[in-house]
Symmetry: C2
Subunit: 109 residues, 2 copies
Amino acid sequence: MGLAKTEMFTDLQNEIALFAKVFGHPARVAILQHLFKINNCICGDLVNEIGLAQPTISQHLKELKHLGLIKGNVEGTSVCYCIDTVNWTKMKEVMSQFLNQDLNKSECC
Amino acid sequence: MGLAKTEMFTDLQNEIALFAKVFGHPARVAILQHLFKINNCICGDLVNEIGLAQPTISQHLKELKHLGLIKGNVEGTSVCYCIDTVNWTKMKEVMSQFLNQDLNKSECC
DNA sequence: TTTGTTTATTGCAATATTACGATTAATGTA
DNA sequence: TACATTAATCGTAATATTGCAATAAACAAA
């Protein structure tokens, strides 16, 4: 079907999955890493930095923006993207809680 | 296309994306949360616990197993699944490094 | 051996994702 | 105004994912 039955899961489970999904493509990982590295957030360069076509990069940026993880500011003809630190921190807390579940009880077999 | 151009990204970027992808579905998040909670790793119950059909759960378990995040032990007619703590810890380190990048320089616009 | 129980696999339909050419929109500059 | 530059959107093709019915496989017990 290709359609996740989100209504049968908790809000938290769906939230974790949505964040994870956006990290589930190497292009978006690369975009985020570049935004972290280039603090000047010059961003048309992403097309050159990563080897994908401009519409493709634009599409990935849109998804990241939609989740609130990045912000885009128009500066003349170009657009300046950067990490939204507040939302990134919130996301990090959600993901950390999931990743850091207690391992002590696990692994019985 | 639906095909990620993995060859144009670093091994780390692809690794992060692969881990994230498997967390990108709420059913797999729910399965993992249940395995963490039920330390006895009784596992046929996953079909009852989560509301999906048995073949669907089996398919999700296969993906988690393929990435090494869970282990399955045959016990009679049933199979006991549990978290692979060693690989989970390795995954956690990779993901943590990505999530915990320095936010100080970011957000210039 | 037959039967029941549990899990994996197969096959397929429905939907989602990825990528990009072509185009459009927005803005700066000559 | 006309032209150049940059980024977003549209349309579409190729591929991936999700879900499940049907079936097979593995095993235990009678």
